[in-house]
C-alpha cells in the first residue's frame, strides 16, 4: 500500500524548469499566448530548492513573484517589470507590436540580492517619471530585507534611494501601495508585511496587542518628499500575526477618501481600514463583513455589478474538483472555529469571498452564487473588462509548488519517508520534501455575465494550460483598445497573452482616460471616474495595486456596453471634479488634466428617504439560544434543526382593537407576551404560567379561539432537536385566555403530541364552526431525517382535541391555509426540508392529498417557509416558498439533484445519513474520509488512505446494492421561488437573484411603498451551519417591489429600502395598531427582536 502511495506522491527530485502544459487548441479564443521568441521576454522566476532555502526553511518559498506594468519612458507604450525571488527581476521596454527589449542591466536594476517579492510602481517623487519600489523578505538579516526604491532618472536608468526617502522598510514585506492617503497632493505609502515565525499555541489577546516591527504593516506619510512612519498614530494594526499577502486601496465607502483592505493568511483576520479623513484610519472589518476567507491571499476591489459601489474579492485555496477537495479538507472542528471567533479572529472560511457592497456599511458575500468561490490555491485576482462589454471580468492565477497540503502526506507519507531517510533531521526533511509531487494548475478566466454570475471561460478564452502562476497584471500592450494579460510564473517563462478582441472584430466599447496631475501625484492615482450610459452607471478607479504582489500604472480603461455614454464625472484625488457631457464617442481616448478640474467634490445627493426605518429597541425581548451543536448528535446531517426561532404570534388578546404579540422562547427561556398600547408601544405582560414552561423549546405559536368563548387562546408547538435521551420536553401546549391571563389546559385536553413539531395551523377543516389544528412534525430526536407523523387535531367545540388524521409528511417546516381554487374553501399547503410542496383539501369527509393536481411538477427543496398572498393582483392567492438559496457550493438541478441516503448502513441501530451532491457531472458523497469513517467505523478498513477515498462515489464506498436499497431523499432546487396561481395550479417563477443570497426563513407581503401594488419582504440567513458549508449571512432584509400585473419583482437596493437587519431572521409579522398604522416585528435568532416601520407612516 505504501509503495503505491510513494509512487503516487513522487515527482522529479528537483523542482525543475516546468514547461507550462498547453491545452488543446481552441477555436477563436479571446486571448492567445505570445511566445518569448516574439516578445523577447524570457524572464522566469527561477526557484531552485536547496537545503538552506526551501519551503521548510522559509514558509513563503512558493509565493512567487510579481509584475509591474507602466510606462517608464513616457513614450505611450506600457513597459513591464518582473520581480523574481532568488535573483534580480527584469525590466522590459515595450518597443511596440509585442516586442520588448530587456534593459535591466542598462537600467541599473541588476545588482541587488535577497528575496524579492512584490513590485509597486508609482511616481514616488513626483517628477513625472515612473519609479519602481521592490519589496523584500526572506530569512535574511535586515540589511538584505530592506525594500528598494529605484527612482527613475528620466533616461531609463534608475537609482536606488529608499533609505534617503525613508522607505527602506526592513520588515518582511510582501507588497506596498502608493496612494494619497490625506489628499494633500503627494503619495503616501502602505507597506504590507508578513511574519516568518510560526504562531501555533499562543494567547490571542496578548499577541494581538503586541507590535512587531518586522511582521507588522507600516503606513508612511509623505511630507515634502520624505516618508515618515505614522503606523501607530494612524490606527494601523502591526501585530506579529499579520501574514499580509494582499493589499488594495480603494474608496470603499464612497466618501471620496481612499480606504485600505489588507488580506491576511493564516489565523489573523483581514483588515478593512476606512479613512477617517484626518490622517488616520478606523479598522471596521468585523463590523461590516460577516465572514471572510481564511488563508486570504491576493485580492481585488472593483464594482462588479455596476451599482456604483466598490465590491471586494479575496482569494483562498479551495479546489474546484471533488478529488482535490477530498485530499485537502480537514474535518469540521467546531471548537477550533468557535475559539477563533471568540478570540477576535472572526468567521473565516476556506474559499474565495466576493463581498458585494450594499453601500450602507454592510456587505453581502456571494462568491458561491457568483461561481468564483473555488479556484484552488489562488494568488492574484484581477477585475477588468477583457471583452469590452461593460462588465468587469475576472482573472485568477494559482498554483502551489508541492502538494504537501495533501492529507495522505500529513498522515502517512511524511512519517514513512522520514523513517527511511538517513541523516540529520534537516537533511531528512529536505530529501522528503524533494520527493513530494508537484502539480501545476490551470488558472481561471471568468466572464462577468451580469446578474452577479461569472462564467468560466478559461479554455474558451485561450487561458487553458497548467502552470504555477503568481503575480499578474493587465495592460494594453499594443494600444489596440483591449487589455492584454501578463503573469509571473515559477520556474517557467512569464505568460504574455494578447487580447484578440480587435483582431477578431469583437472590439466592444470602451473609453480610455489618460490622466495627469500638476501635484506630486502626477499620475492622479485615486481618481474615480463615473461613466453614465443609457443603461446605468459604471465606475472606475485609478489605483496602482491589484491582485498579488503586482501593480499597474496605466490609463484608465473603461469597458462599456455598446451604447454611447451620456456624461462622465471625473473625481480627482483632492475631490475636485471634471464633468464631460458633450461629444463623447465610443472607443475614444480622453486626456484630462487635474488642473482643469472645475468644481469641488459634491457628495452625491443621498437617495430619497428609505422605505423602512428601524425602531429603536422598545421591545425588550432578547432571544437567547442555548448554544447547542446538532452535529455533535448526528455528525453527518447537512443542516442543524436548532436555531429555528423565534417565531411569533399576533392577535388582539385583550379585545382593545390593537394587535398584541407573543414571541416564542427557546429552550430555557420562557416565551414572552406583549400588549400593544395606543401609542404603538409593546408592554410586557406578566404571565407566570407561561414562564413556568421555559424548559420547552417553542417552535411555533398561534392565537386562536380554541374553546369558543370569543377570546384568543394560545397554542404553542414544542420543538427542537437533541439526542434521543436528551430529556427535552416535546408535548405541545394549549393555554386558555382567562381574562388576559393564560393558563395551561388540563391534561388530556391535547392528545399525546410529544414530538418535535414545527408549525400549527388553526383550521376549521370540517366546517363545524370550531377551529381544529394541523400540527406539522419536524424531526425524530437523534434520527434525522426520520420525522414523526404530522397530525390534524379535531376540536370538540370546547377546546378539547383528538387526533383526527395523521400521516408521515417528512420533516415539515411550515404550513398555511390558502384558497387554491377560489371556491371559498381553504386548503392546506405544507413545505419541508427535503420535500416538495404538499397540498391537502378536505373533501367528502376526508383529507385528500391534492398535491399532484395543484403542483404537478414536484420541486424538492430545503424549504423553510411558505407565504400566501395575491402577488400579481389578479384576485387569486399565489405562494412564495423560502428555500436555501443558490449562494451555495452545492449546485442542484432536476438532472443533478442533491441526495440523502440514510439507511443504517453499519447496522448499529441508527441511520447513517450521507449527503451526496454533483460536482462536475458526478455525484460524490459530501463527507470527507474522516467524517465518513467516524460515522461508519468499518469503512476505515476499506479506505485507509485519503487517496483511496477521494475519487469514490457512494456506490463504490458502500456497494451499489446498499445504495439502491437505501431510503433516499432529494433536492432538485435550492431557489427561493414564487408560485403563480393559474386557475388552481401553481407555476414556479423566479425572483430577483438577491433573494437567493441566503436561506429565506420569513416572508411578509404588503404594500410597503404605498403605491397600491403588493411588495414582498424576505429575510432569513443561517448562522449555525456545518463549517464547510459556512454561515450564510448575505441577506439583510430583501425588499422586492411588486410590479403587479407585470408579474416581475425588482429588488430595492438597501440604500433605498433602509434595511440592514443583522442576524438570522426567523419570523416577520405585521402588527396593526391604531388608526390604520402598522409595524413589522422581526424575530431574530439569538438577538433582540426588531421593529420596522414604513417611512410613509409618520409617527
Amino acid at each position: 500500500m505504501f509503495r503505491q502511495l510513494f509512487q503516487g506522491l513522487l515527482f522529479a527530485p528537483t523542482l525543475g524548469f516546468v514547461v507550462p502544459q498547453d491545452s488543446k487548441p481552441v477555436e477563436d479564443p479571446l486571448f492567445e499566448a505570445v511566445t518569448s521568441g516574439q516578445t523577447g521576454i524570457t524572464f522566469a522566476n527561477q526557484l531552485p530548492e536547496t537545503p538552506d532555502l526551501n519551503i521548510i526553511t522559509y514558509e513563503y518559498f512558493y509565493n512567487g513573484g510579481g509584475v509591474g506594468a507602466g510606462d517608464f519612458n513616457n513614450d505611450g507604450l506600457v513597459d513591464l517589470y518582473f520581480s523574481a525571488n532568488t535573483h534580480p527581476g527584469r525590466l522590459y521596454l515595450n518597443r511596440g507590436n509585442f516586442q520588448f527589449e530587456d534593459i535591466t542591466d542598462k537600467a541599473g536594476l541588476h545588482h541587488f540580492s535577497g528575496w524579492t517579492t512584490g513590485v509597486s510602481l508609482a511616481d514616488v517623487n513626483g517628477d513625472g517619471w515612473l519609479d519602481i519600489y521592490l519589496c523584500r523578505s526572506g530569512n535574511h538579516p535586515p540589511e538584505k530585507r530592506r525594500n528598494l526604491l529605484f527612482l527613475n532618472n528620466g533616461n531609463l536608468t534608475f537609482t536606488e534611494k529608499a533609505a534617503s526617502l525613508g522607505l527602506a522598510d526592513a520588515g518582511y514585506s510582501t507588497m506596498a501601495s502608493f496612494f494619497d492617503m490625506d489628499r494633500d497632493g503627494d503619495l503616501d505609502a502602505y507597506v504590507l508585511n508578513h511574519n516568518v515565525k510560526q504562531f501555533r499555541n499562543f494567547d490571542a489577546a496578548y499577541v494581538k496587542n503586541q507590535i512587531d516591527p518586522d511582521a507588522g504593516d507600516h503606513l508612511y506619510e509623505n511630507r515634502s518628499g520624505i516618508f515618515h512612519d505614522i503606523t501607530r498614530e494612524a490606527g494601523i494594526r502591526s501585530n506579529p500575526l499579520g501574514y499580509g499577502l494582499g493589499l488594495n486601496i480603494s474608496d470603499i465607502n464612497s466618501d471620496g477618501w481612499p480606504d485600505i483592505y489588507v488580506s491576511n493568511d493564516y489565523v489573523e483576520e483581514d483588515y478593512l481600514y476606512l479613512n477617517k479623513q484626518d490622517g488616520s484610519f478606523r479598522e471596521v472589518l468585523k463590523e461590516q463583513l460577516p465572514h471572510i476567507s481564511n488563508f486570504s491571499m491576493g485580492l481585488d476591489i472593483a464594482d462588479i455589478n455596476n451599482d456604483g459601489l466598490q465590491d471586494i474579492f479575496t482569494l483562498d485555496m479551495l479546489p474546484r474538483d471533488n478529488e482535490r477537495q477530498k485530499l485537502l479538507y480537514a474535518p469540521d472542528n467546531f471548537e477550533l472555529y468557535n475559539n477563533m471567533v471568540e478570540n477576535g479572529f472572526h468567521h473565516q472560511l476556506m474559499r474565495n469571498m466576493l463581498h458585494l457592497n450594499n453601500g450602507n456599511g454592510t456587505f453581502s458575500e456571494i462568491g458561491q452564487l457568483a461561481g468564483i468561490a473555488d479556484t484552488d490555491w489562488s494568488w492574484a485576482a484581477l477585475f477588468a473588462d477583457f471583452n469590452n462589454d461593460g462588465a468587469k471580468d475576472l482573472f485568477v492565477t494559482n498554483g502551489y509548488g508541492r502538494d504537501m497540503i495533501n492529507r495522505d502526506f500529513m498522515k502517512f507519507y511524511a512519517n514513512a519517508r522520514l523513517k527511511h531517510l538517513q541523516g540529520d533531521t534537516d537533511s531528512k526533511m529536505f530529501s522528503m520534501l524533494q520527493s513530494i509531487r508537484s502539480t501545476p494548475l490551470q488558472n481561471y478566466l471568468f466572464e462577468n455575465q451580469g446578474n452577479l454570475h461569472f462564467k468560466d471561460q478559461t479554455i474558451a478564452w485561450g487561458l487553458g494550460g497548467a502552470d504555477f502562476a503568481h503575480g499578474a497584471a493587465y495592460a494594453d500592450l499594443d494600444n489596440d483598445g483591449d487589455l492584454d494579460l501578463v503573469f509571473n510564473r515559477m520556474n517557467a517563462q512569464a505568460g504574455i497573452y494578447r487580447n484578440r478582441s480587435v483582431e477578431t472584430g469583437k472590439t466592444g466599447n470602451y473609453l480610455r482616460f489618460y490622466l495627469s496631475s500638476h501635484t506630486a501625484n502626477t499620475q492622479a492615482l485615486g481618481t474615480s471616474i463615473k461613466v453614465f450610459t443609457p443603461d446605468g452607471i459604471r465606475i472606475f478607479e485609478k489605483q496602482s495595486v491589484h491582485g498579488f504582489q503586482s501593480s499597474m500604472v496605466l490609463p484608465v480603461h473603461a469597458g462599456l456596453p455598446d451604447l454611447t455614454p451620456d456624461s462622465i464625472h471625473v473625481t480627482w484625488p483632492d475631490g475636485k471634479m471634471t464633468r464631460l457631457t458633450e461629444d463623447i464617442r465610443r472607443r475614444q481616448t480622453i486626456t484630462l488634466h487635474h488642473q482643469d478640474a472645475q468644481v469641488p467634490f459634491l457628495k452625491e445627493a443621498p437617495p430619497q428617504a428609505t422605505l423602512f426605518r428601524p425602531v429603536p429597541d422598545t421591545l425588550r425581548y432578547l432571544h437567547r439560544e442555548m448554544m447547542v451543536n446538532d452535529f455533535k448528535v448526528q455528525p453527518l446531517i447537512p443542516n442543524m434543526v436548532s436555531y429555528h426561532g423565534p417565531e411569533s404570534a399576533i392577535g388582539d388578546i385583550n379585545g382593545d382593537g390593537l394587535d398584541d404579540l407573543y414571541l416564542c422562547g427557546p429552550e430555557g427561556q420562557p416565551g414572552a407576551l406583549f400588549l400593544q398600547n395606543r401609542s404603538g408601544k409593546f408592554i410586557p405582560s406578566q404571565q407566570p404560567l407561561l414562564a413556568a414552561d421555559a424548559a420547552y423549546e417553542d417552535a411555533y405559536a398561534e392565537f386562536f379561539d380554541a374553546d369558543g368563548d370569543n377570546d384568543l387562546d394560545l397554542y404553542v408547538v414544542s420543538g427542537g432537536y437533541g439526542a434521543p435521551d436528551s430529556g427535552l420536553p416535546l408535548q405541545d401546549r394549549l393555554y386558555f385566555n382567562r381574562g388576559g391571563l393564560f393558563s395551561p389546559a388540563d391534561q388530556g385536553t391535547l392528545p399525546n403530541l410529544a414530538f418535535s413539531g414545527s408549525v400549527a395551523v388553526p383550521w376549521d377543516y370540517d366546517k363545524d364552526g370550531d377551529l381544529d389544528v394541523f400540527v406539522g412534525a419536524r424531526v425524530e430526536q437523534g434520527r434525522y431525517p426520520y420525522a414523526p407523523e404530522s397530525v390534524l387535531l379535531a376540536n370538540d367545540g370546547k377546546g378539547s382535541f383528538t387526533v383526527a388524521w395523521k400521516q408521515p409528511l417528512g420533516m415539515v417546516t411550515h404550513a398555511l391555509l390558502l384558497d387554491v381554487d377560489g371556491d371559498g374553501n381553504q386548503e392546506l399547503a405544507v413545505c419541508g426540508e427535503w420535500s416538495s410542496l404538499l397540498f391537502f383539501a378536505y373533501r367528502e369527509g376526508s383529507l385528500r392529498d391534492i398535491s399532484s393536481s395543484v403542483f404537478p411538477k414536484p420541486l424538492y427543496g430545503w424549504w423553510n417557509t411558505l407565504h400566501a398572498a395575491d402577488l400579481d393582483g389578479d384576485g387569486d392567492t399565489d405562494l412564495i416558498g423560502g428555500n436555501w438559496g443558490t449562494n451555495s457550493s452545492i449546485r442542484v438541478s432536476e438532472k443533478e439533484p442533491m441526495e440523502l441516503f440514510y439507511d443504517d448502513f453499519d447496522r448499529n441501530g441508527y441511520p447513517d445519513p450521507i449527503l451526496c451532491a454533483y460536482i462536475e457531472g458526478v455525484s460524490y458523497p459530501f463527507p470527507t474520509r474522516d467524517e465518513m469513517t467516524d460515522q461508519m467505523v468499518g469503512l476505515r478498513k476499506k479506505f485507509v488512505t485519503y487517496d483511496s477515498y477521494a475519487r469514490m462515489t457512494l456506490p463504490g464506498i458502500l456497494s451499489p446494492e446498499e445504495v439502491q436499497a437505501s431510503p433516499r431523499l432529494q433536492v432538485n432546487t435550492l431557489e427561493t421561488l414564487w408560485f403563480e396561481n393559474q386557475e388552481g395550479i401553481f407555476q414556479p417563477r423566479s425572483l430577483p437573484v438577491e433573494v437567493n443570497f441566503a436561506p429565506i426563513h420569513a416572508v411578509l407581503s404588503g404594500d410597503f411603498d404605498n403605491d397600491g401594488v403588493c411588495d414582498v419582504l424576505l429575510a432569513g440567513n443561517a448562522e449555525q451551519t456545518r463549517i464547510r458549508i459556512g454561515r450564510s449571512d448575505a441577506n439583510y432584509g430583501c425588499l422586492l417591489k411588486g410590479m403587479g400585473s407585470k408579474r416581475v419583482f425588482t429588488c430595492v437596493p438597501p440604500l433605498a429600502s433602509g434595511l440592514a437587519i443583522q442576524g438570522a431572521v426567523r419570523s416577520l409579522k405585521k402588527i396593526e395598531g391604531t388608526g390604520g398604522k402598522w409595524q413589522i416585528i422581526a424575530g431574530v435568532n439569538n438577538r433582540a427582536a426588531l421593529l420596522l416601520i414604513p417611512q410613509h407612516q409618520r409617527p
Binding site: E59, N201, N333, N339, M410, F412, V633, N908, R940
Partner: protein, 432 residues
C-alpha cells in the same frame, strides 16, 4: 501427501520465522507486525489496548484449545464444540497460535489486510482441522469484539468541552476533538465496571497562590522551565504519542510512535525473550498483560471524562505564562488521570507477578523511533519513571499521576488475583 512433504510444510514457515530462533521471539516478532500496523494506522492508546487484548486472546485461546490442561481457557468465549477439540505438535501448535493472532488482527485493524501474505503463508503449514479450530476461535473472538460496545460508539454524541477555566479545552497545534469520550461503555474483561476503581476527584481548580491546585500548577510550570536535560530525556522516552503533529507554515504532518500500551507490550516481549520462554508461555504472558491494559484504559478514560480536567498548558498560558509550552505535545484528551500512570502501574503489577520484583531489563522498544535505550532494575522502577515522566513532559499534574498509579496498581492487583490460576508459577529460568 507424503510425510516428507508434510514435514516440509511444517518446517518451512518455521524456518522463515526462525530469523528469531527462540520461540518467545517468534511470538514477539509476530505481535510486532501487528504493532507496526497499528502505528501506521495511527491508533489511539485506548483502541490499541483493545486490539492487543483481542489479538492476544485469540492466540491464547487457540493455545488453550490445543493444550487445555496447561493453559486453561479464560471462558470469555463460548465453549468450543467437542468436534473442534484437537491436539497438535509443537510446531503446528505454535503456528496456530500466530495464525489466530494475525487473523484477528487482520479483521480488526483498518490496515489489517497487510497481514494477509504472512497469514496465508503460515496457514499453509497447518492441517485443515487445526485451521478450522483457529477459524472458529477467531470468529468467536471477533464476535465478542463486535458486541463489546465499540460498534455503538459513533451513535453517542460527540464531545462538547465544558465552559470554565477548570475544564479541558482542545490543545494545539491541531485542537483536535478529544479521543473516545464514551470509552467507558466498552465491555471489560476483569473489572466489574469502568468505575470499579474510581480515584479521588482531582484537586479542585483554584488559582489562589498557595492553594493545593496552584501548587500543582506551579510545579509543572517550573519543572518545564528548568530545562533539565535528564528529565526532558525521560519525558521523551515515555512520550508514546501515537501521532505528534509538526507544523511548518502551511505544511503539517504527523510523526508516529507506539502507544503507552504498546510500549509495555514491548517490555513484556523483552522479558519473555530474556527468560527464554516457550511460545505458549509467551502467549500467556502477553494475554494477561493485554487484558489488564485493556481494562486499565477503560477505567482511566472513565475518570478522564468524569472530571474533564484542564491540561497544564491551557491553565498555565491562561493565568501564568503566555508563552509556556510543554516539553511533549499534549495528547488530545482530558488530563485526569494520567493514562501512562494507570497503564504502567497495572502492567508492572502483572509483569512483576510473572517475572519477579527485581527483574532488570534493557528497554529497546523506542530505538526505532529515534529514542535511546534505557535500563531498569525492575518493572516497578520503569512504571514509576513512566508515571513521573508525564510531569516532566509538562502534560500532567502530579495528582493525576499519583491517583493514576493508585488506580493502575489496583487494577493490576485485581488481574493478578482474579486471574491467578492463569498465571504461570513464578519462574525466571528456562520454561517448557
Amino acid at each position: 501427501m507424503s510425510l516428507v512433504v508434510r514435514l516440509l510444510f511444517i518446517l518451512f514457515p518455521c524456518y522463515m520465522l526462525a530469523v528469531e530462533k527462540r520461540p518467545a521471539g517468534i511470538y514477539v516478532h509476530a505481535l510486532k507486525q501487528v504493532t507496526d500496523i497499528m502505528v501506521d494506522d495511527v491508533t489511539s492508546p485506548v483502541a490499541a489496548a483493545r486490539y492487543y487484548a483481542y489479538t492476544t486472546l485469540a492466540a491464547y485461546e487457540t493455545l488453550s484449545a490445543l493444550q487445555p490442561k496447561d493453559y486453561p481457557s479464560f471462558g470469555y468465549l463460548p465453549v468450543k464444540p467437542a468436534s473442534l477439540l484437537s491436539t497438535a505438535r509443537t510446531g503446528v501448535r505454535d503456528n496456530a497460535v500466530l495464525l489466530a493472532m494475525w487473523k484477528t488482527a487482520a479483521a480488526l485493524l483498518p490496515s489489517g489486510t497487510r497481514l494477509r501474505p504472512a497469514l496465508d503463508s503460515i496457514a499453509r503449514s497447518i492441517p485443515s482441522e487445526i485451521q478450522n479450530l483457529v477459524e472458529h476461535i477467531t470468529r468467536q473472538t471477533l464476535n465478542r469484539a463486535g458486541t463489546d460496545g465499540f460498534r455503538q460508539l459513533n451513535n453517542l454524541p460527540r464531545y462538547t468541552p465544558r465552559r470554565g477555566e477548570a475544564f479541558w479545552q482542545p490543545t494545539g497545534p491541531a485542537f483536535m476533538a478529544p479521543v473516545e469520550p464514551h470509552w467507558r461503555t466498552i465491555r471489560t474483561f476483569l473489572l466489574d465496571s469502568a468505575s470499579q476503581f474510581t480515584p479521588l476527584p482531582p484537586v479542585p481548580f483554584d488559582m489562589t497562590v498557595g492553594s493545593p491546585f496552584r501548587q500543582l500548577l506551579d510545579e509543572v510550570h517550573t519543572i518545564v522551565l528548568e530545562k533539565n536535560p535528564e528529565k526532558e530525556g525521560i519525558a521523551r522516552f515515555w512520550d508514546c504519542n501515537p501521532y505528534h503533529i509538526s507544523q511548518i507554515g502551511h505544511i503539517e504532518f504527523g510523526i508516529k510512535k507506539i502507544s503507552p500500551g504498546g510500549h509495555w507490550m514491548g517490555i513484556a516481549g523483552i522479558a519473555c525473550i530474556q527468560n527464554h520462554l516457550s511460545l505458549p508461555a509467551t502467549a500467556q504472558t502477553h494475554v494477561l498483560l493485554a487484558l489488564t491494559l485493556h481494562d486499565a484504559f477503560i477505567a482511566c478514560w472513565d475518570e478522564k471524562y468524569r472530571s474533564h480536567r484542564v491540561r497544564p498548558e491551557t491553565a498555565i498560558r491562561a493565568a501564568l505564562d503566555k508563552s509556556w509550552q510543554p516539553v511533549l505535545q499534549t495528547p488530545p484528551f482530558p488530563e485526569y488521570l494520567s493514562g501512562h500512570s494507570v497503564a504502567s502501574s497495572a502492567a508492572a503489577q502483572v509483569l512483576t507477578h510473572i517475572f519477579g520484583p527485581s527483574y532488570p531489563f534493557a528497554d529497546d522498544t523506542e530505538l526505532e523511533f529515534g529514542l535511546p535505550l534505557r535500563s531498569f532494575a525492575s518493572f516497578e522502577e520503569a512504571a514509576r519513571e513512566a508515571s513521573i515522566s508525564r510531569l516532566y513532559g509538562g502534560i500532567h499534574f502530579r495528582d493525576a499521576i499519583d491517583q493514576g498509579i493508585w488506580q493502575g496498581t489496583r487494577i493490576g492487583r485485581l488481574a493478578c488475583s482474579k486471574l491467578s490460576s492463569y498465571f504461570p508459577h513464578r519462574n525466571r529460568k528456562r520454561n517448557r
